[in-house]
C-alpha cells in the first residue's frame, strides 16, 4: 500500500534544461501536450474506479473553470441534482463527469470557503506567498505600463481581471494598489466570501466580483488591461483552451500573468510529497503532478494564443525563515509575465 501516489510519468522525456534540446523538442512538445491530455482522460477514468480519492482531483470540462487555490479533498456531501443521462462519445462522458465532479467540488469548496481569510488556516501557504508574487506583479506591470513604482497607487487607471480569484486574496491588494479589479470565480460561495471581506475596507469595496468563467467573459466581449490567473492552470483540463480565453480577455498591448507549479521531480517532492503528505500544508489530492506544466509548455501554449512570455521567475521558500523569495529557480513554483502584441 503506497503512502502517496507515484508520479504518472508521461511517455515523453520531461524536464530539460538545455535550450537547443528545447528547440528540437518544440514540435514534439506540442504533440506531447495534446497526447498528454488524451492520456489523461483514459487514465483518470480507470483511476476513478480504483482510487476513490482521485475522483475529485481534476475537472475535465474546457467550459467550466474551477476556482483557484482549491483544496478538493474533503469528503463530498451528497448532491441533490440528478446526473444527466450518459451520452455516447468521450465529450459526453466528459460532460457527465463534469457536472458530477463539479457539484462535489463546489460542495467541498463551500465547506472550507469560510477559511479563505484565516491566515493560519488551510490557505496559509497562499497568504505567505502573496506578498512575493505581488512584488513580481508590481515590478513587471509598472515597467510594462510605464507607471511610477514609487507611489502608493501605481496601478491607477488599469483594469485588471483576476481569473479564479477564490476569496480575493490577490484581488484586494491589487485594488489597494489602485487598479480597477474584476474578480471571477466559478464557485458562488467564494464570490460571496470575497465580496463580504472586500466590503470591510473602502478601497477594496470597489472590486467587482462575478461568479462566472473566463469563457463566459469572452462571450460577453469584455477586455482588460491585465489578466491574472495565479495557481489556476494546474487545475484546468484543457490548458490550451484556457490560455486562448485569457488571451481573448486581454486588450492588445495588455499583460497576462500566470503562475503555476513546474512538472519536475523537485516539484513532485516539494509540492506533493512534502506539502501534502509530510507537512500537511495542503490537503491530499490538491494537486496532480501530471497536470503541472513546465515553463516551456506554458510558453508554447501561450505563444499559440499570440501571447509572448517576457519574464519568468520562480518562488523559493527559505525553510529556516519561512519566507518566500523571488529567484531564477523555476523548478517548483514559477510565475510568468506575458504580453499581447499591440495592434498595428
Amino acid at each position: 500500500m503506497l503512502l502517496f501516489p507515484l508520479p504518472h510519468f508521461p511517455r515523453f522525456p520531461i524536464y530539460s534544461c538545455s535550450s537547443s534540446a528545447t528547440k528540437r523538442r518544440g514540435t514534439a512538445m506540442a504533440a506531447k501536450l495534446l497526447s498528454r491530455l488524451r492520456q489523461l482522460d483514459t487514465r483518470l477514468i480507470s483511476l476513478q474506479h480504483q482510487r476513490p480519492f482521485f475522483r475529485n482531483a481534476r475537472l475535465f470540462s474546457g467550459q467550466q473553470i474551477p476556482s483557484s487555490d482549491s483544496h478538493p479533498s474533503l469528503p463530498p456531501t451528497p448532491t441533490p441534482t440528478p446526473l444527466p443521462p450518459p451520452s455516447a462519445g468521450s465529450a459526453g462522458e466528459k460532460r457527465q463527469r463534469t457536472s458530477s465532479l463539479k457539484d462535489h467540488e463546489l460542495a467541498k469548496f463551500a465547506a472550507i470557503s469560510d477559511t479563505w481569510w484565516d491566515s493560519e488556516g488551510p490557505f496559509k501557504p497562499l497568504h505567505a506567498m502573496n506578498p512575493t508574487r505581488l512584488a513580481f506583479i508590481r515590478s513587471t506591470l509598472c515597467r510594462h505600463f510605464s507607471k511610477d513604482p514609487n507611489v502608493p497607487k501605481p496601478f491607477d487607471g488599469l483594469e485588471i481581471v483576476d481569473v479564479g480569484c477564490g476569496g480575493g486574496i490577490l484581488s484586494e491588494p491589487l485594488a489597494r494598489l489602485g487598479a480597477t479589479v474584476t474578480g471571477v470565480d466559478a464557485v458562488e460561495k467564494n464570490i460571496k466570501i470575497a465580496h463580504l471581506h472586500a466590503d470591510l475596507d473602502p478601497t477594496t469595496s470597489t472590486i467587482d466580483y462575478v461568479c462566472t468563467t473566463a469563457e463566459k467573459l469572452v462571450e460577453e466581449g469584455r477586455q482588460f488591461d491585465a489578466v491574472m490567473s495565479l495557481e489556476v492552470i494546474e487545475h484546468v483540463a484543457d490548458p490550451a483552451e484556457f490560455c486562448k480565453s485569457l488571451a481573448a480577455l486581454t486588450r492588445p498591448g495588455g499583460a497576462v500573468v500566470i503562475s503555476t507549479i513546474n512538472r519536475s521531480i523537485r516539484a513532485y517532492a516539494a509540492a506533493i510529497v512534502a506539502a501534502e503528505y509530510i507537512l500537511h500544508w495542503l490537503p491530499r489530492g490538491t494537486h496532480q503532478w501530471s497536470s503541472f506544466l513546465t515553463p516551456e509548455e506554458l510558453v508554447m501554449i501561450l505563444k499559440r494564443s499570440s501571447i509572448d512570455v517576457e519574464e519568468m521567475a520562480g518562488f523559493v521558500l527559505n525553510p529556516l525563515t519561512g519566507k518566500w523569495l523571488l529567484s531564477d529557480d523555476v523548478s517548483v513554483n514559477f510565475i510568468a509575465f506575458a504580453t499581447k502584441k499591440a495592434e498595428g
Binding site: 484565516d118 506578498p131 508590481r138 491589487l174 489597494r176 460571496k192 463580504l196 471581506h197 475596507d201
Partner: protein, 516 residues
Amino acid sequence: MNRLVVRRTLYSNHHQPKCPWKRGFCSGGEAAAAAPASSASSGQLNHIINQKDGSFAGDDQPYDLAIVGGGMVGMALACSLATKPLTKHLKVAIIDSNPALANKLSIKREDPPDPRVSTVTPATISYFQDAGAWQYVQQHRHAFFDKMQVWDYTGLGYTTYDARDVYKDVLGCVVENRVLHSSLLSRIEDTDVQKTIYPSRLASMIRYPSSSVKADDNTREASYIKAGLVKLEMSDGSSLYTKLVVGADGAKSQVRNLAGFKTTGWNYSQNAIICTVEHSVGNHTAWQRFLPGGPIALLPIGDNFSNIVWTMSPKQASDLTVMNEDEFVKAVNQAMDNGYGPHPKSNFSNGSNKFSFLGGNLTMSTNESFEVPPKVVKLASKRAAFPLSLMHANDYVAKRIVLIGDAAHAVHPLAGQGVNLGFGDAFTLSRIIGEGVAVGTDIGEVSLLRKYEAERKPANIAMMAVLDGFQKIYSVDFGPLNVLRAAAFHAANYISPLKRGIISYASGEQRLPIFP
C-alpha cells in the same frame, strides 16, 4: 456557525488597569436569525453607527494609523512615514494630551539646558538625516563627542574609546530631548501630510474582528463596516476608528495595558539623578565611572555644559537631591575624581603589546593616558531623580496593535541606549509599513507586523541582556570580581578587535553583539 453577540464594554484605566481588553463582537450569523440578536444590541449599535446606512460621516473616516503617545519615538514614526513617498498618503492620528504638540514651543539657543538629554548613536543620526530632521537638531544646542573613558572605583583599570578606532568622526551626539522632539515636529510640519492631533488621553480600545463573516448573509449589516478596525475612545469623549494602533506611550503604556500584553522585568533597586552642570572649560569627552552604588556619567552637551546621570540606591538619591548645591557639586567632583578609590595607572605601550597577535591594527586610543574629567564649577539646573527598572513586553504585536519604544522595552541608562532602541523601532516599523503598502497589504495585518517584531525583538533583547549583565556585574563589590572587571577593562583597552566590536555595537552599526 457561531452566534456572535455584541458586547460593548468600556474599560477605563481607573477601574481595571490590568484587564485584557475585550473584543467588541459584531452581530453576525444567519440573516434571519440575526434579527433577535441585532434587536437586542441595536440600541448599542446605533450609537456606534453615525449614519443610517452605516457608512462613516465625513469627519469620521477611519484613519490608517493612530499613534498613541506623541513623544520622541511616536513623532519619529510619524516623521518617517511623512517623508517617504510610499507612506505619506496615510492618514495619521496622534493621541497625546501634551499641549506642546499642538502649540509648538520655540526653543532658543540661549535657554538654559534642560536636564533631560539623550545620547543619540550614529545609527540614529543617520535615520534622522534620512528623514530630514537632523538639520533642525543642528540649529539648537547639541554636542558631538569622539572620545569616551570608562573606569571604576577600584583603580585597577580603565578603557578609552575613540571614534578614530573605527575610522569614524564621532561616537555619538548628546542632544536635549525637547530639541529632538521639536526637530521631528518641524520636519513633519514641512511636509503637508494629513495628521490630526487629539489632545486627550486614551480611555479605551475596542477591536472589531473581521474574519467572522458568513457567506450566506446577504444583508449588509452596518456593523461589518467597522470590522477590521479598532475604535479608540478618548477621555474627553471623542473617538476614532483606525486600521492600526501604534503604542508609543512610554513605559506605563496605556495601549499595552488595554491590549493585555504581558511583560517581563524587574526593578533595579536604584534611582538615577539627572542634572546639568557647568565647567570652566569645554568638555568634548564622555566620562563614565562605575562606583560601588552605580555608575556616574558626565556627558558633554555643548557650550561648557555637561549632563550628569548618577545611579545610586534610592536612599542616597534622595539625600543627594535635597542637599544644597555646593555640597552636591563637591560630591560630584569627588565621585569623578578620587572619591571611593584611587586613579587607575596610565597605560604606556610603545606600539605593540602582548595581545597584538589577535590581529587588527592597534587602536589609537590604547596609548591614551588616564585623564581626570574637568571639574564641575556649578549646577545649572534642578536635580531630578527617578527609579530604574528593566521591562520587556513578551510580544510587540497583536492584530492591529503594535508597540514601539519604551512601551515595548525599558532599559538601564548606563549605556545611553534606551531611546536609540526606541528610534530603531520607529524607523524599522515605518520601513516595514512602506513595504506593506508597496504590495497592497492591509497595514494592520499581523503577518506584516510580525516582520517588524522579528527584526527588532532579537536586537532589543540582546542589548537589554548586555546592559543588564553590566549592571549586575558592577553592583557587586567582591575582591576577585573586582580583579575580573579590571581584567575586562584591560582586555577591552588592549584587544583591538574587541574594542572595535564594542564601539560598533554601541554606536548602532552592528545589530547584534555577536553575529553582526
